[in-house]
């Protein structure tokens, strides 16, 4: 039996257990972002400083002015320094490309879903066509035309990766556009721009963020993959993909060159995918 005095006390909401599946990857990503932003401050050396006497030194060796925590590469550059600067390239490319392709895709998808008619037919047909070419092949042919390089990789990814956003934005807009409040807003004289950005966009943002997270992970992999093939970020700029490609030539005598960039890449992408998974559960369990 509870006393009346106790019953009137405010009840503390039940504490939700800390969601490790969300917070662990968030911590990992925050660490990578901090490393990328503060790269020149925390990296021990200059990423392009060579030390030809200290080539291919294993982790923990000291050569002249360098102490190689994670070993050195074929030009005696510090691997740890280059890993930290590589995070910069990876995250900057992935972030910019995801933002660009996301904006293009969401705007086109919303227009197709709201305006219907020929806009819908045109946009969704083009989406189908883009999605029927394997993404990596589309990226490769575009790089072949534009040429390799940091900026071109971003352009290529932005050009080739918008259709998935468009498809999700389109589907979500279709259902939102028919809700009473949107129709009411239309009756009250709101134009399409106002409807889309004030009423539709906030409602589809959840689904878009889920796609954006998964796409962000893919972008990191694509940049690394293109750089690995020699089609992405060009030397001497440090990129995990091109470091892996170098490491492939020294597997017998310098295992660390390929191992550590790969580990960074794997950890980052795994963390991003875990967040994507957790967000998908939270925002829309039916979205796949």
């Amino acid at each position: 039996m509870s006393s009346p005095a106790l019953a009137s006390l405010p009840v503390a909401p039940p504490r939700r257990p800390l969601n490790l599946a969300l917070w662990l990857p968030v911590t990992v990503i925050v660490l990578f972002v901090l490393a990328a932003v503060a790269a020149p401050l925390i990296a021990p050396y200059d990423p392009n400083a060579q030390n030809l006497l200290g080539r291919l030194k294993p982790p923990g060796t000291t050569s002249r002015a360098f102490h190689y925590w994670l070993g050195s590469d074929e030009l005696g550059r510090d691997l740890l320094t280059r890993l930290i600067h590589g995070a910069r390239v990876s995250l900057a490319v992935a972030f910019t490309a995801a933002l660009l392709s996301g904006t293009v895709g969401v705007v086109l998808g919303m227009l197709a879903g709201y305006l219907r008619g020929w806009v819908e037919v045109l946009v969704m047909r083009v989406v189908d066509i883009f999605l029927s070419v394997p993404a990596i092949l589309l990226a490769i042919i575009t790089v072949a035309v534009l040429g390799p390089g940091l900026v071109n990789v971003i352009v290529v990814l932005a050009l080739t990766r918008w259709p998935r956003y468009a498809r999700v934005a389109y589907g979500q807009t279709l259902s939102i556009a028919n809700t009473p409040y949107v129709r009411l807003a239309t009756l009250m004289g709101a134009g399409p721009i106002r409807i889309l950005f004030r009423h539709v966009l906030p409602n589809i943002l959840g689904a878009v963020i889920v796609v954006a997270t998964l796409e962000f992970g893919l972008m990191v992999l694509f940049e690394a993959g293109l750089s690995f093939l020699g089609l992405g970020v060009q030397p001497p700029t440090a990129s995990w993909g091109s470091m892996l490609s170098t490491g492939r030539n020294y597997l017998g005598n310098a295992w660390w060159i390929a191992t550590f960039p790969g580990m960074c890449l794997f950890t980052l992408v795994l963390a991003i995918n875990m967040i994507g998974d957790a967000l998908r559960d939270r925002f829309d369990p039916r979205l796949h």
């Binding site: 066509i129 029927s132 394997p134 490769i140 072949a144 035309v145 992999l221 998974d277």
Partner: protein, 309 residues
């Protein structure tokens, strides 16, 4: 059935047409594709001569029509660097890529489907949760890194397998595993979902009530029904494997289409790149169509007009 097939074929034609148009525009992203086809040392006169030979000085619309006509006649053009038809180059490299894709598909299905079944049947156990974690991790593993790690372990350290290039069956193992691991995760996930979906059906409950063992239930009842989504995914995964081969072939110095594509980009042999990409797109479209048709062949409940009885 026929109506559906016709409509679906019509869609395929539109998509094919669209893909060719897309490639035509990508070619012209920098304005003049002639520069993609000449070596860096070419003089202005060389460039002008080639532009005229290839008809690239004609109006854009005329070029587009002749490009369509060329592709419709299965002519992928001529490699400017090697001076042989692109189709010859593709034909000589395709068997290697197919071999690799077949190996990877074997790994992907052979591991993924049993793992998916285990994940579905024993989903409450700690072991299944760990397995699910591994599957999830495999999805985030870049193939070029897992490939390199495999080489380091099995070729460099243990010396069990040859590190790269083609030869016997043992050369195929590591590239197949590296390429197949990613699809393995997809197969495991789809199989798990498919089995879980079927497990809730009435026919499963009544079969169990009659005393059917789990093994009998799996082979006699679940296999056919749960295979429908798996088959659809398989068709799509094959095109992913072919595309993923581009990177894995570079890791293992495997002389397939992927390797020749990357080499052609670096050698500025654009026609070869374009040929491979067009072929990859055609294969993907064909496989998607195949998935749709197979879908109804496995499950007669699904009629091709999209109605599930």
């Amino acid at each position: 059935m026929q109506g559906f097939l016709l409509r679906r074929l019509g869609q395929v034609l539109v998509t094919l047409f669209g893909v060719i148009t897309l490639i035509f525009f990508v070619q012209r992203l920098t304005g003049d594709p002639t520069f993609l086809l000449v070596p860096e040392t070419a003089t202005q006169a060389d460039i002008d001569a080639l532009r005229h030979t290839l008809g690239l000085d004609r109006p854009l619309f005329v070029q587009y029509l002749s490009f369509l006509q060329q592709i419709a006649g299965f002519d992928l053009g001529q490699s400017v660097v090697q001076n042989v038809p692109v189709s010859t180059i593709i034909a000589s490299r395709l068997p290697y890529t197919l071999q690799l894709a077949a190996g990877a598909l074997t790994v992907a299905c052979g591991l993924g489907i049993p793992v998916g079944i285990v994940l579905a049947l024993y989903r409450q156990t700690a072991a299944a949760r760990m397995l699910a974690g591994l599957v999830f991790a495999a999805q985030s593993m870049p193939t070029f890194w897992s490939g390199i790690m495999l080489i380091m372990l099995f070729a460099v350290t243990l010396g069990w397998l040859p590190p790269s290039s083609v030869g016997g069956f043992e050369n195929l193992i590591m590239p197949s595993v590296a390429l197949g691991l990613l699809s393995m995760a997809t197969f495991a996930r789809i199989t798990r979902t498919a089995i879980l979906d079927e497990l809730t059906r009435d026919y499963v409950r009544s079969a169990r009530a009659r005393g059917a063992t789990m093994g009998r239930l799996l082979t006699r009842h679940l296999a056919r029904n749960a295979s429908i989504p798996v088959i659809t995914v398989a068709a799509i995964e094959i095109s992913n494997l072919l595309a993923g081969a581009v990177i894995v072939e570079t890791v293992f110095a495997w002389p397939g289409l992927g390797q020749v594509t990357v080499q052609s980009i670096l050698a500025r042999d654009f026609m070869v790149v374009q040929g491979v990409v067009l072929m990859g797109a055609f294969v993907t479209i064909a496989l998607n169509l195949l998935a749709d048709i197979l879908y109804s062949a496995v499950d007669p409940r699904i009629r091709l007009d999209g109605v599930r009885r």
